[in-house]
């Protein structure tokens, strides 16, 4: 009985699916408008599932999870600013069987398979550095106000 229990445990360990593949993660999103023609999301994390081949899903797009020499796993996506507006996004991580089930769900419908884990991406959107209005415009408006005031006073004196 004990031998059977040990064998079951070993088999379980060998065939167990990794439940939480994403360890410590770092997320980068494009925020500076003049410095980027498109929005990029870059997610780096330490994978807890070294034996599983992982894939990611953002929206309904399947993205590969790839590795770097530093031993980190990465997900990259690039889209136009319009397609990735300021919002909170969820990047779902699937293992091999999960992504096959997801692709089947995309083709045939039904219930979406539950991801192993989801990474939250909070994207504040892209914007210009500094003030929302150009400083030259503010100075021009101020100059026109000063000119209008001076002109009004001058007209009163001339009367």
């Amino acid at each position: 009985m004990l031998v059977f229990a040990i064998l079951a445990a070993v088999v379980g360990l060998i065939s167990c699916d990794c439940q939480n593949p994403v360890g410590e993660s770092k997320v980068y999103t494009t925020t500076n408008l003049p410095l980027a023609t498109e929005t990029a999301f870059v997610i780096e994390f330490k994978s807890q599932c070294t034996d599983s081949k992982l894939s990611a899903v953002l929206g309904s797009e399947v993205l590969p999870v790839y590795t770097t020499p530093a031993g980190l796993s990465m997900i990259s996506v690039v889209k136009t600013h319009k397609d990735l507006p300021a919002d909170s996004y969820s990047v779902d991580i699937y293992d091999e069987s999960g992504i096959v089930a997801y692709k089947t769900f995309l083709k045939e419908g039904g219930d979406a398979p539950k991801p192993l884990q989801s990474v939250a991406v909070s994207h504040p959107g892209v914007s210009k550095e500094g003030l929302p209005i150009q400083s030259e415009f503010i100075v021009m408006v101020a100059y026109l106000l000063v000119w209008w005031f001076a002109n009004t006073v001058k007209s009163k004196i001339s009367e």
């Binding site: 500076n32 410095l35 590969p64 790839y66 020499p69 980190l72 990259s76 500094g130 400083s135 001076a150």
Partner: protein, 184 residues
Amino acid sequence: MHFAVFVLVVLGAASAQENPILLASKDFLNDVIAQDKHLTMQYVVHNIGSDVANDVSIDDSVGFPTTDFEVVTGSLEATFDQIPAGANVTHVVVIKPLISGMHNFIPAKVSYKNSNGDELVTFSSFLDNNPILSTTEYNRKYSPHLVDWLIFIALCSPVLLIPFLMWNRSHSKYEALAAKAKKN
């Protein structure tokens, strides 16, 4: 002789078609490249062959030496397990130039293996020499110049304020005199 050459070409073409063929593009997502500002590099690798490409490795560390560029996020080297035939993958790295001036954006090296385990190498597209603006040049073109405008307003103010204050003082004096005369 011609027939032998023809057979060789057909065999070559047939065997090439069974290999994965990768095309890699390298591009920057920036309108402007400036010193100490984020530069986003995008690499897209397409497999136009009819076989899966295994162990696809992108290496652009030679193009961005650590003395001149700092990696903000991502990595200049990346490895994809597989790129199926007809598919493409994207890799992004965000770096920061530490230098200014013209920089030669050389192609990245892409190495991969076919199903026989043979290692194949290709290079990404070439971006040629591109300028990296210095911090001073970038600020001259793109910063809001708030300090410059404040200095300009401070220098213009005496030219406007002094005559106005002089007029306002004498106007107030005569208004007061006129009001006094009316009372009397």
